[in-house]
Symmetry: C2
Subunit: 149 residues, 2 copies
């Protein structure tokens, strides 16, 4: 990007305040997430496992793009999942370069448990704290914020 007015066009104070809040919330959520990792899998492992569970078989490169990381990083995550016996890799019969990644039986069980356990604290907090109207507001905002990424 070579926009020359990158530093000149100042955002509105309201937008800047909202951006600040987003950053701050995001930092705290990150830390919270790390702390409550439930000892099972690391966050990136769980995320990949869940993606395979929801999206079906895939490949290193496709998973890497889905998660927004480089293929080398995904290789590391997949290696750790492989050592845990949660995934299986087999060569793609149609393209010898590719490895088709699938969940093992244990991986499917783990993914289901994780889906119901790992982020359950968040879902439960939402249930406890928020009214339906508030949840609607949050969902609306999430849909908007998703446009930013």
């Amino acid at each position: 990007m070579e926009m020359s007015d990158q530093g000149e066009q100042q955002p509105s104070p309201a937008a800047r305040a909202a951006a600040d809040d987003i950053i701050d919330l995001f930092r705290r959520l990150n830390i919270r997430m790390r702390a409550l990792s439930s000892g099972d899998l690391t966050p990136s492992q769980a995320s990949v496992l869940l993606r395979l569970f929801k999206g079906g078989p895939s490949s290193t490169t496709v998973l890497a793009m889905s998660e927004g990381v480089r293929s080398q990083s995904m290789t590391a995550t997949l290696n750790s999942l492989g050592e845990l016996g949660l995934i299986e890799r087999r060569p793609d019969p149609e393209d010898g370069r590719r490895q088709i990644i699938t969940l093992s039986q244990a991986g499917r069980v783990q993914a289901e448990n994780d889906r119901d356990g790992r982020f359950a604290w968040l879902a439960r907090s939402i249930d406890e704290r928020f009214t339906e109207a508030q949840l609607a507001t949050i969902n609306e905002a999430l849909a908007l914020l998703a446009q930013l990424t």
Copy 2:
């Protein structure tokens, strides 16, 4: 519904969907942030610097609590900021255990630049994409979500 005996109260589907969206959004934000880190300071350095800029002099422990990290982690961040000459530490005359952390002149300049540069893309995106009503919705949701952390 076979494995739904988690032993705890299951969250509502709506809450779980919202939690999923939150997790996903913040993963993407995280990655986006890393990619656009502008080479200047690391995220944690920038965050502490900005906090000092907005909140004035502080201490290791107070900063650690503000950022939601342990004091040892904050020590590391402050060390790196100290090596860059962006902060100054001096003993608290009233309590020999404490170190009062202040921004150096260079630190103040850096903090101002960061505030206007590091997260400006987010603020600008907000300005570009959202109406005032939508921004109000987002702010409302942010205030609610802050309760989760």
